[in-house]
């Protein structure tokens, strides 16, 4: 047997500090909220203490953003704003390794994903939007579209830096200023981004980053002087925010949960479909809102496909997120692990057939072995509820119509995957999918030029592409 020796990335590269402060009005300051301790989910050790915002700190941050908006940022020509945004993009590349290691430490995702996906895609979002800053008149929103003002942004823990980039880059390009709250369990890379922003000499107050829990987010989105709210996270919180904002003139975009169908027809390129299924659900431990968590496979190839899938999933290496050969890292928090365990138990109790990879798991930390449920019916909780973990539910279908009906039978509508070698069927299916993003013969591809977003309970508004600019312009 050929065992791969451990190949860990050095954690020194993360430049981890014992304490992090929030970033307001161009300076790092102590928040007056209760400090939080952020942990490494792979070892459960405390990484750092992070100061958090109180309600008055939220007010200070919004005021700083307002001042920067009125005095500097909204008046600056787009070509000048672009220079700052390009500078941020280059600095993210420059400090890519540091950010990647820190992201893996704080979030638990494997280093190969933070290194090859999160950080490069974050940089590319800044590059892409920097290009728009002086061309907004040609974006299709009138000759001289205006920014909205102060954007209050709340982001999740699954792609901490990447989500910050998705939010901050278009806001700045369009001339808005920002107050952003990173997730409670993953604040560190956003604060290194703040350091980058400070070093890029962005005018004070244009970007403010205030860590904290849900109450800070609630105070931010509820603040009277915020003009635009952007939230990525759970559907439950999204509903609360929408309720909170009803009757105000704040503009809102929500990017919420999903229960995407990955649909495999009998003429699909099977080996690549298996890769796509694996990438669809086990990428980032399944902590992906657009994860392909429901596999719909045509009955005539179901047994063959499931056999290939089991063999492939058995090769996934679960363990130390900093090891360059790790495919599946740690679940982000004990709370999330408990939720995954609870939902998988319900799958067994409701009669689905559970298969779990026999891969070894570390003794410490929050880990969950890749799991595939077959014999799943639409009525089961594992087919309806978002698990947000490395758990796949397999259902079968016989006709394209049945595939459409089953795929759309969910209150969510974020993404879908279609696997077939027949081009006409891809188009036929894509027209019928009630999902914001439809991939064909691939899955989980992210590009700043492509708009991303969902509908129904997956939210509304788009991020990325020309369409994504609309969320940050007064149109």
């Amino acid at each position: 047997m050929w065992e791969y020796a451990p190949a860990p990335e050095s954690r020194d590269i993360a430049n981890l500090k014992p304490a992090y402060k929030m970033f307001v009005d161009g300076k790092f300051v102590e928040g007056t909220g209760e400090p939080l301790k952020t942990i490494n989910p792979a070892t459960e050790e405390v990484l750092a203490e992070v100061s958090t915002a109180s309600e008055s700190d939220v007010d200070t941050a919004v005021k700083a953003a307002r001042k920067a908006y009125d005095r500097v940022w909204s008046k600056m020509p787009g070509s000048e704003r672009a220079k700052y945004i390009y500078r941020i993009a280059r600095q993210i590349q420059e400090r890519g390794r540091e950010l990647a290691v820190l992201e893996s430490l704080d979030n638990g995702k494997p280093i190969k994903e933070s290194r090859d996906t999160d950080i490069p895609t974050a940089a590319s979002h800044f590059f892409y939007h920097a290009g728009w800053a002086d061309k907004l008149g040609y974006a299709g929103y009138g000759p001289d579209p205006k920014p909205l003002g102060v954007a209050g942004q709340v982001i999740p823990w699954n792609f901490p830096l990447l989500m910050a980039a998705w939010k901050i880059a278009p806001a700045l390009a369009c001339g808005n200023t920002v107050v952003l709250k990173p997730a409670e369990t993953t604040p560190l890379t956003a604060l290194v981004l703040a350091d980058i922003i400070q070093q890029c000499d962005l005018p004070p107050g244009v970007v403010n980053i205030i860590p904290g829990a849900g109450d800070v987010g609630a105070a931010l989105v509820g603040h009277a002087d915020v003009n635009k709210v952007a939230f990525t996270g759970s559907t439950d919180v999204g509903k609360v925010i929408q309720g909170q904002l009803a009757g105000t003139n704040k503009k809102l975009t929500l990017e919420l949960g999903g229960k995407a169908a990955n649909i495999v027809f009998d003429d699909a390129p099977l080996d690549q479909a298996v890769e796509g299924i694996v990438n669809g659900i086990f990428f980032n431990q399944g902590h992906v809102c657009c994860a392909g968590s429901r596999l719909l496979v045509q009955e005539s190839i179901a047994d063959e496909l499931i056999e290939k899938l089991h063999a492939r999933v058995s090769t996934l290496r679960v363990g130390d997120p900093l090891d360059k050969n790790t495919d599946v890292g740690a679940i982000n928090s004990r709370e999330q692990l408990t939720k995954i365990q609870e939902l998988t138990a319900s799958g067994e109790a409701e009669g689905a057939t559970r298969w779990t990879s026999s891969c070894p798991l570390p003794d410490k930390g929050f880990f969950f072995a890749p799991t595939v449920f077959s014999g799943v019916s639409q009525a089961m909780r594992i087919a309806r509820e978002e698990i947000f973990g490395p758990v796949l539910s397999v259902l079968t279908f016989r006709t394209p119509e049945e595939a459409v009906a089953k795929a759309n039978n969910t209150p969510y509508g974020l993404s879908a995957g279609i696997w077939t070698e027949k081009g006409s069927r891809i188009l036929w299916m894509a027209q019928r999918m009630r999902a914001g993003v439809v991939w064909s013969n691939t899955f989980n591809r992210f590009d700043p030029t492509a708009p991303f977003g969902g509908y129904q309970e997956s939210g509304f508004g788009r991020e990325g592409g020309r369409t994504g600019l609309e969320a940050y312009l007064d149109v």
């Binding site: 791969y4 020796a5 190969k112 080996d271 690549q272």
Partner: protein, 318 residues
């Protein structure tokens, strides 16, 4: 058409006649180009260090088909290649021997005489290598000559013209006949994937060669660009994996041409390990067709053991 081995009924049906064979090959699942290239690139990022690297280097050395296929080959060159095959690093007797020496038919006797009793195989290219453009009689005579001279492995080329024009039955028959002419010698079937171009073609040609009784499927002659690539090798590894799934038989894969560095070789071994499975990590089931690769493996082996790089002057150039 004659099935060379006892095949399971589904596969026996596939080789019943030309139209069945065509239906079978065209009924294989397609290969998505973007997907297979993405997977190959992804697996290529595996980081193989320390003991696992040393193990991989020794394994790769034992899988090398040390090759010289030049018009300018001499008996002297073949003899020095044979000496290299036996003791790749003369100062380090613990370095494993290579799997085989691969030469043109007229050089087989020279190599075979030098390698008697070593366990190192002599492989010969045959069947109007590299183009395959000749009559069946000449291809058979070429094969028989190589085997008579002492080749224990024959690397044949398929008729790409016939394959690309859809005459699968003709290609099948040729492989079956060459396999017969090989007798006890192992048959490696060179698909020349650089001329087949699409991954769908590579998959069909792989299955065709396996159905016809090829012991190995080999990517390239080394005379056509591109020669071996990682994604092509992925597709061929999937074929032998699926073949085992259906028949229980183990068949081998040999990428050849363009693999020059240890880093590349390790990427191939990772693909063997994770696409086909650990049981293919064996010189009986996986080979590298290479000439310059061996010296890089030897230099990296020294680097691993000595802790420093010593350079190309410390390995023999043959």
């Amino acid at each position: 058409m004659a099935a060379p081995t006892t095949l399971p009924s589904a596969l026996a049906d596939a080789v019943r006649d030309e139209s069945s064979l065509r239906r079978f090959l065209h009924g294989l699942p397609g290969v998505d180009q973007v997907g297979v290239e993405q997977r190959a690139a992804g697996l290529g990022t595996r980081s193989i260090k320390k003991a696992s690297k040393l193990h991989a280097i020794d394994l790769a050395i034992s899988m090398v088909d040390l090759t010289t296929l030049e018009g300018a080959d001499t008996h002297g060159k073949v003899r020095s290649l044979a000496a290299k095959a036996k003791r790749p690093d003369p100062e380090r007797p613990d370095v494993p021997q290579v799997a085989a020496v691969c030469v043109y038919p007229d050089m087989v006797k020279t190599a075979a005489d030098d390698l008697v009793g070593t366990g190192i195989n002599v492989a010969s290219v045959a069947t109007a290598f590299p183009s395959g453009r000749s009559t069946m009689d000449i291809k058979l005579a070429d094969t028989r000559f190589a085997v008579e001279q002492g080749a224990s492995e024959v690397d044949m080329v398929i008729d790409r013209g016939a394959f690309l024009s859809g005459r699968y039955g003709q290609v099948f028959e040729e492989i079956v006949k060459i396999k017969e002419a090989c007798g006890d010698a192992h048959l490696k079937v060179i698909l020349e994937t650089g001329e087949l171009v699409t991954y769908d073609n590579v998959r069909r040609a792989s299955w065709l060669a396996l159905l016809a009784g090829g012991d190995f499927i080999k990517t390239s002659t080394g005379k056509v660009q591109p020669a071996a690539t990682l994604p092509v090798t992925h597709v061929m590894l999937q074929a032998v994996r699926d073949w085992k799934q259906q028949t229980g038989e183990l068949r081998g894969v040999k990428p050849a041409g363009g693999i020059r560095t240890t880093k590349d070789a390790i990427k191939y071994l990772v693909a063997v390990h994770e696409v086909a499975g650990p049981e293919w990590l064996d010189p009986h089931l996986f080979r590298f067709g290479a000439s310059t690769l061996l010296n890089d493996l030897l230099m990296q082996r020294r680097t691993q053991l000595d802790g420093h790089y010593s350079g190309p002057d410390y390995v023999t150039v043959d």
